[in-house]
């Protein structure tokens, strides 16, 4: 799961200035850290939905992504 997210899906997100890191998987919950443009994306939930689809399609696992946003310091103001 970690390799798939960071080495297959990660580069796709990097292409949009984003970044994803695997944190953990407990049952069907996969916890991921999002940085860069992903961290401030207003529609990150849609992207997570796409990642869940890709994981189901390519790893055969039904998961739910829990996204942790790590905003860049200059936007970390709330």
């Amino acid at each position: 799961m970690k390799d798939y997210i960071e080495k297959v899906l990660g580069p796709r997100l990097q292409g949009d200035g984003g970044w994803v890191e695997f944190v953990s998987q407990e049952g069907e919950t996969v916890e991921l850290i999002f940085r860069g443009e992903c961290s401030k994306c207003g529609i990150l939930d849609r992207c997570c939905g796409w990642m869940e689809q890709m994981i189901l399609k390519n790893l055969g696992q039904q998961v739910k992504i829990r996204a942790i946003r790590r905003k860049p310091y200059f936007q970390d103001n709330k």
């Binding site: 949009d16 200035g17 940085r35 849609r46 992207c47």
Partner: protein, 992 residues
Amino acid sequence: MAHVKVVRRSMRPEEWTDLRFVWLQRGVYREKLEITGLEIRDARQVAENEYVYDDEAWRPLNKGDLYFTPDGTAFIRGHATIPASLKGQDIYFQLKTAAEMIVKVNGVYVGGVDPNRDRILLNPYINSDELDIEIEAYNRSKPDDERNPDTLAVRGCRQVFEGAYLATVRDNVQSLVYDYILLMDIAHCEYFNEDYRKFLFVELSRALDLVDFDTWEGIDDAARYVEERIYQNDDFKGSGDVALVGHSHLDIAYYWRRIHAVQKNARTILIQLRLMDKYPEFRYTHTQAYTYETLEKYYPELFAELKEKIASGQFEPVGSMYVEPDCNVPSAESLTRQFLYGQHYFRRAFGKTLDNAWLPDVFGNSWILPQIMKKSGVDYFVSNKMSTWNDTNRFPHNNFKWKGIDGSEVYACVPPTHFITWNMPSQIQENWEAYQDKETGGATLSMFGYGDGGSGATEEMLEMVRRFPKVSVMPKVEMTGGAEFLHKNLKDNPALETWDGELYLEMHRGTFTTKSDIKKANRTLEFKLREAELLCALDALCGAAYPSDALRDCWKKLLLNQFHDILPGSHIHPVYEDAMADYAETDSKLNSLFKGGERWFNSLNFTREGLAFIEDADGPVVRHGKRGYWAMPKLEGLTAGGAEPLKGKADWLRCQADGNGLQIETPYYSLRMNADGSFASLEDKELDRQWIKPGCGFNKMHLYADYPGTYDAWDILPNYKDVEHSLDVKAAAHLTAHDDVSAEFTVDFATDKSSWKMVIRLFADSRAIEVEHVVDWHEKHRLVKVNFGPDILTRELVCDTSAGYVRRDLTKNTTWQQARFEVCHHKWFDMSEAGAGVAVINEGKYGVGLEGDEVSLSLLRATIRPDVTSDMGHHDFCYVILPHAGDAIQAKVNQLAYEYNVPLTKADAAVPAMLRGMLNDCGLYLQSLKLSEDGEQLIIRLSEQNGARGKLRLPMTVKLLNLLEDEEGQTDVVAYRPFEMITLGIALSALK
């Protein structure tokens, strides 16, 4: 007494007008018929016009579906039939999207849609009722065009498809909407006359009173009212003279890879061509030969159409250069090649030699540029950022003359406002208000057009231009071409002021340092290309084929990666990976051009005097991770010979641990080294002086907090020294290797995330002190500098520019001096007083901090935007500390810096004696030796870099060429001035 703030809660009259303006815009479309049965296929672009598809099959695409994937390109197809109800009308393809789409109908490029435009008129291009629709769409989730708030609202990788339609438009509503866009912008803009704005609000409200927003009756009455009451009113007067130039800035790579720029460029050009069809008065400027080259290769149909518009004068190539490069870090030869390959492309493709450099977005401009431009046929220079982005001082000119390091002058325009505008009256008025040369410079330049795939001008912008003359408070405006603006306002203008110096940008000072690997690779390849061309040219003189295509390809790849968001380091991670792959490929190609030999070849045109590291698997020294030995081959210029290991001296070194440091004695120095590798004392035995100023650090490492804000990769802020973190010494300076030639002292540093090894090399037979840093770097928000505080009384730092030196003030008396706290240099910097000084020579570092009595070499950063992983990982870099007698010129610092950056090459090259005699120790540096682009001549480029004037007496008559390799005369005596670059051409037949 109680104070109550009175807040008006009821709707103001202006808000009532604003509200109805929104309603008015809803009436633009008369009819929209949804195109059903569309299909989509998701893909990811992997190379120029090459894609990997997520699925083999197409899937249906319906309104409301999510479409696009991260880093995705989508292909959409469908069929539509024009219904009888729409026939005879102007029919539009309409699609509102956040993406950038190229639309073909029945195989014809009909136009493009993106966040800045949502419809394409079909009638001029389609003569059938049956429409086969093909769309290539790149998801536009990137924060380009951040200045356009409309685009921000639709940012994101996964978009909701809002449907595609065949549509008709109420032309009268659309026209009135344009009137209101124009006039509402003025009404809301405080740059305009307050009374006129009040007048506008009243009249705009009254005009809308005539409109029925349910039936759209009264539109013509409202338009007539606007015409008679507002446009025909000339009671209010404006002033100003503004030239409007259509332009779309295009970053070849930034938040996208260069492979995506191919489509961004094609879309931009397509959309501008379609606008030219509708607006024959529209003129548009487009830069970068590379973008034309890719259009020619990947979109030949569009390219053919483009050539017609160029011939007609509507579409204007500007800029002359291959790309819009960074103009701080590339060498003089690289900048020369930007013009050479750019201009040669424009000549071949369009029969034009351009006379302007168009660099709106670059981060400051080197002082060497005017000469390079002037000798590349370029008399005019345009660059925006100094006016709009300087953080401390207001740059004093907009239209002026720029004098270069050698005294060459070009006409220069630093427009007062941004290069991306949407042609609103407020933006034009702001430009005029900010313009500082109103009395001397003629008209001011205002570029309009969205950038970076935002695809330039829109219909709205051109409709504004048609309406501007009708508004009495507007400045006089004229839509013109780029060259025409420059010729009309700057050429032969005797009133222009002169700026003599570099065009330093008081911002983005971190771009001299960010992405250390890219800068090192660029430096290495600049010199490797020099070596390869020179050796291949010498081979060609002996009858071998000259690999001109291979060399040109290598140059172009290097030049492409000098783009101003690649080389400076301000890009996303995949751009970094592309660049490093390009460098590796170029390096490999160049290696294949070297034929090898038994001897070591000195390609420099002077005798080597310094140390040379020779790679050898059996060598005693490990440097840059490779084994080798130290040599000091006294090879004459342009000759090959041996490079035997230095013999050295027995017992040349004394080293004693003393308290918390080392006391070291060499034939040259008595050095007191602190535990952290910094020098507490450096007594020079030859010069009988101390080099270290008490209280100052020397070779002293500093790890600073580095939080410059939004422009993280770009900026170093003046407060960077406020917070310093500890770089803990894990192993104090200690002697780790020692033989008759050299000694190595190693210090190990660490943070909780990174390890840092500093190796200090002293030599038995050289004054040079080399410092190597081997780093495993995993920080965030950090800047590492190494400081040098020599005991030298000087107020100047002499910095190499790659073709001459610039003297920079170390004092902080004025705001101009204070703003230049971090500057760019090339191979070396030097602090000298009468009789002696210290130089620091590097092999790929560019940032220097000016800190009064000390200077600092910027080593590494750890930024997170745009690349979260910027500069992470392994680094290995060296510099040389060189205390010397005399000043930098007398000490031949520049020569030694060349030696340090140009390794000896195994090659049994033979240089004709006549050439060797002509070039060796001639007072000029051999910058380039190659065959001409037409293969007929040997090209010799020499540059004066010491600030001297002289004459070069030649053994034969040669051609004097400009940098484009055009003949400008013939001579056998070349008189040169300080810092001049000379290009000579010798017919090959004369050398065989």
